[in-house]
């Protein structure tokens, strides 16, 4: 089988530009500003994680992206047009946390409906198989477990040839095996040149799956880069050592490239954006650290550090 770039009928000059573009987008609910001056672009073929704690504005951002809600100000474009145009052309598939399922029908009936509503559908059996729900195809939708419901939602999101797949916390309710199987399927989709955007607060997922991570907090973009870059930006290394005697804490706090400092008795724990310079300066002070450890931060710590740094500046 030869791989060809699918031809799109959604209009000219839509394949060259960004898949998604937000320009200074704002959305408030009453007093709460859910999305606050957000600007970003997603490019064809990227697998992007939208990472942030609960209430960071991830779901709101996806709602705006998909055209489920209008932005208060700013501009949201999908494939150079409106979200509705992209959805009507079958270029976007989405799996929402808040997306319910039709009841009183079987899994197969529902997935078949999803396929028939798609302008460029896959065969129903193929969609069922890929979502791992062939065995429960005859079961009624209202009799499913949470994890099974998620897989049906995934089937609906991948019922046709989409160019962009949007997933809001897709592995919620799945056990470890199901989660791994899910991401394996998602990687296949990405390998076929699809753009994948997923919101998550499972930090290991962003680290393991995405080739680009957007960190969102309070509706603002904190960081945009590869998982490695995010870690570097937040203070990439943890440095720990023991110090005998009395060393003035001010001296230690003045060490170069520090992003965090902790001292418990003789133990000193630092975070540094340039561990080499920090450790070098410790020796240059004439100190003799014992049990010196330098280790990389997980994305989780990087993320917490970024969030705290941002809050400190507000």
């Amino acid at each position: 089988m030869t791989t060809t770039t699918p031809a799109h009928s959604a209009g000219p000059a839509t394949t060259a530009g960004p898949v998604v573009s937000f320009q200074n987008v704002t959305k408030s609910y009453g007093q709460v500003r859910a999305v606050d001056g957000l600007s970003l672009e997603l490019h064809p073929g990227e697998t992007v994680a939208l990472l942030g704690p609960n209430g960071a504005g991830k779901s709101s951002t996806l709602d705006l992206l998909l055209g489920l809600r209008p932005a208060d100000s700013g501009e949201v474009r999908l494939f150079g047009g409106t979200a509705r145009e992209a959805v009507a052309a079958g270029r976007v598939g989405a799996m929402l946390q808040s997306g319910g399922l039709m009841e009183e029908v079987s899994v197969r009936e529902l997935v078949a409906l999803g396929c028939s509503l798609h302008p460029r559908p896959h065969p129903v059996d193929e969609v069922l198989h890929r979502a791992g729900i062939t065995e429960i195809a005859s079961r009624m939708v209202n009799k499913l477990s949470g994890g099974q419901e998620q897989r049906v939602r995934f089937a609906l999101a991948t019922a046709g040839h989409n160019d962009l797949i949007v997933l809001d916390e897709p592995t919620t309710g799945m056990d470890v095996t199901a989660r791994q199987a899910f991401w394996a399927t998602m990687r296949e989709q990405a390998a076929q040149g699809r753009t994948v955007l997923f919101a998550t607060h499972y930090l290991e997922e962003a680290d393991a799956i995405a080739d680009r991570v957007l960190v969102l907090n309070k509706g603002r973009l904190l960081a945009d880069g590869s998982a490695a870059e995010i870690k570097a930006k937040a203070g990439a290394r943890r440095v720990a050592f023991d110090l005998d005697g009395t060393v003035d804490e001010q001296v230690l706090r003045a060490l170069p490239a520090l992003t965090a400092f902790e001292r418990h008795g003789t133990t000193v724990k630092l975070q540094s954006s340039d561990a080499d310079a920090t450790v070098h300066a410790v020796y240059a002070l004439g100190l003799y650290p014992r049990n010196l450890e330098v280790a990389g931060l997980g994305l989780e710590q990087a993320f917490i550090a970024l969030t705290e740094a941002e809050e400190a500046t507000r």
Binding site: L68, A89, V92, L96, L101, E104, V105, S116, L117
Partner: protein
């Protein structure tokens, strides 16, 4: 109509038929109401100002009222519930046009209102000896059924205005108000003139008028048909617009 819209209509009809409780209520309620309200009426008493017997009048009124109940209450409540569960959000992420959704909901309601009308007719003919010409039976069935689609569209629109908590009171208020003022329960001849002037423009009045014209041996009035057509366009337009605008968060 595209294949997707057709599939949605098919599935909506299948779902409605699978829900036994909903089905039973919808199909049996109008006939039960006819027997309760019209059960003690004498077959020879004439309706004020007409040659029509009371049971015949009540049969047409209850068939109309019952069909209206089935589609209005059924649609608005089921849609409000579906919105709360987020199914409509998911559906809005498909290429389905807004009118496709309204069409599917209206059509599935219409499939249930037809047997409801026929059961009332059957009960009235068997239990109360109501008799009409053959063409009248067919014309009554068609007119009452087609008219019920106007209220199915209204049900879709209400399902979009109201949330799951307040959909029932809102529907009930509209439903009783429209039914009584439109003359579906009793002839509006008993109303004062000023009220009758207002009632004339209600969709329920035009709806009742369809059946009454046929049961008196004539064709439905053009004015009634025009009023109903106008309301149908209004309700479906509003429902499709509300479907697109809906931003209820689950």
């Amino acid at each position: 109509m595209n294949a997707g819209t057709y599939q949605l209509i098919k599935l909506e009809v299948i779902r409605a038929l699978r829900n036994k409780k909903y089905l039973f209520f919808t199909v049996m309620y109008p006939a039960a109401l006819f027997l309760m309200l019209g059960g003690t009426l004498s077959g020879t008493t004439k309706v004020m100002g007409t040659e029509l017997t009371m049971p015949a009048f009540y049969m047409v009124a209850m068939a109309s009222f019952g069909a209206l109940t089935a589609v209005l209450v059924g649609n608005s409540e089921r849609i409000a519930k579906e919105r709360e569960k987020g199914w409509v959000r998911q559906l809005r992420l498909t290429a389905l046009p807004g009118r496709g959704y309204v069409l599917a909901k209206t059509a599935s309601a219409g499939v249930l209102s037809l047997p409801a009308i026929l059961v009332v007719f059957g009960v009235a003919a068997a239990a109360k000896g109501v008799r009409f010409e053959v063409w009248q039976w067919f014309a009554l069935t068609l007119a009452i059924w087609a008219g019920s689609l106007v209220f199915a569209a209204l049900g879709v629109a209400i399902g979009y205005c109201a949330s799951g908590d307040n959909v029932r009171p809102i529907t009930m208020l509209l439903y009783f108000g429209l039914s009584i003022l439109g003359g579906l329960w009793m002839p509006t001849a008993a109303f004062p003139q000023w009220l009758r002037n207002i009632c004339e423009w209600l969709p329920t009045h035009a709806y009742a008028g369809l059946g009454q014209a046929i049961e008196l041996g004539g064709a439905p009035h053009v004015k009634d048909v025009a009023i109903l057509a106008g309301y149908f366009v209004l309700f479906t337009g509003a429902a499709a617009w509300l479907y697109r605008k809906d931003s209820l968060k689950a």
